[in-house]
């Protein structure tokens, strides 16, 4: 298929940036290619012409690392549900389509180059409490700690978060609540995480707020955009947990 793509090109963090249109480079694209393979082809052709290839992030190319962030025609990770950009295939498009490709837009995720943004803000949130520092014992101790199936399932659902940032990109307010709440739900649900629950909740919400993300007003665009389909229910749990921690913790 032949496509027209408009890609956000920005030399570095200081550059104002703008859209660049490509048509010749997007001719004869196979519908079996992934979206990133399509960009690889475009980049090869740009390189042959002596032009700067489009900078984008990718690593695993199988939907688990969360680096392949880009907004495709107004949707983070493109039009398919529960898919990352690397899992999106060109059969989602048809011959003659026009595709706009933009980086995540958020003050907390500054653009490094073209489609690559700096997601350090997420690391800061994790550093604030996204870990367990109590001694959980060795392997046999894990077997002696009984955890109900429903509890472990809900913790696992939250743990599916790959930290890609699509929630922030999709949120009209640039809020990072789905990410932070997923991490909190993942750890606070399990007995190993319980002893530090209150401190973890206060610290991670605090880190999220100071990183410059917006505030949640319950649009739930995050839930719709999440490639791992994490439910907005984790945000409600964080809303409860934060009040409990604020009022209850000494």
């Amino acid at each position: 298929m032949n496509l027209t793509i408009y890609v956000w090109r920005q030399k570095d963090a200081k550059d104002a940036g703008g859209f660049e249109k490509y048509t010749d480079e997007c001719k004869g694209i196979s519908e079996h290619m992934s979206f990133l393979e399509m960009l690889d082809v475009v980049n090869d052709r740009l390189t042959e012409k002596g032009k700067m290839p489009i900078a984008f992030d990718s690593d695993c190319r199988e939907g688990i690392c969360g680096t392949c962030s880009m907004v495709i025609n107004g949707r983070p990770h493109g039009p398919w549900k529960a898919t990352t950009t690397c899992q999106l295939h060109m059969r989602a498009f048809k011959d003659g389509d026009v595709i706009y490709i933009e980086p995540w837009r958020s003050k907390a995720f500054p653009v490094i180059q073209d489609l690559i943004v700096d997601r350090k803000a997420f690391d800061t949130i994790i550093q604030a409490g996204g870990y367990i520092s109590t001694n959980c014992g060795s392997a046999p101790d894990a077997n002696s700690m009984l955890i109900g199936k429903e509890v472990s399932d809900s913790a696992m659902d939250a743990a599916a978060c790959i930290g890609c940032g699509a929630c922030v990109a999709a949120c009209p307010n640039s809020s990072a609540m789905l990410f932070t709440a997923a991490k909190l739900a993942h750890m606070n649900t399990l007995p190993q995480g319980k002893p530090e629950e209150a401190q973890r909740t206060l610290s991670m919400v605090g880190a999220m707020d100071s990183a410059g993300f917006g505030n949640c007003s319950n649009h739930l665009e995050c839930e719709a955009a999440c490639p791992k389909e994490i439910s907005g229910q984790v945000i409600a749990a964080m809303n409860r947990g934060y009040a409990k921690a604020s009022f209850g913790k000494r």
Partner: protein, 229 residues
Amino acid sequence: MNWFGRYLKSSVGAKHVMAVTGLLLVGFVLQHMVGNLQVFAGQEAINAYAAGLKKLGPLLWVARIGLIVIFLVHIASALRLVSLNRAARPVAYKMVKSERSSFASRAMAMSGLILLAFLAFHLLHFTLGGGPLKTQFNLIDAYGRHDVYNMVVLGFQKPAVAISYVVAMLLLCLHLSHGVTSLFQSLGLNHPKYNGIFNLAGPVIATLVLVGNCSMPIAVLAGLVKATV
């Protein structure tokens, strides 16, 4: 008290502030509507109700000041959040495709601000007695009470006034349809067993308020409720 300030200022605490003040304001809107609907029971009923409210004296002032404080907190907090949210996305997207959010949820700030302007007009109109209603505001009924009944009826007989109320109520309906449903999530109430009720609560309460409040100007315009002076 350090922790309490931090809690209120945090993104999650701010949600709770919006939800709790919003809940109280919805309570006020509903009781205000029920009180006003007595206009259908005739002049005696609503004038007696209004006189009864006035008789509360200092208690009425406590309620009024409480209401004003709740309003101010709701508005100030909303404005702070909107400006923070704007700042959080300095460069806008070229293309945005909304999937889950509703028109109502995206228009909260707009509907809220227009409602604030309407509120100023409404207070001037029926509480302070200025604006297009000046002459009807000082009416006294046969028992020497403030004649609320004729004030309202004569006020709504002006089509422009009646229509402005209907338009404001459409905006209020929009605001409540997201606001009421949203406050459950903000307060941490999200459970598959009850989400059906939470999701219905917003649209149902918003529609009740729309129908109830619009019934008055429409009945007056249609000549179903007539002035007695």
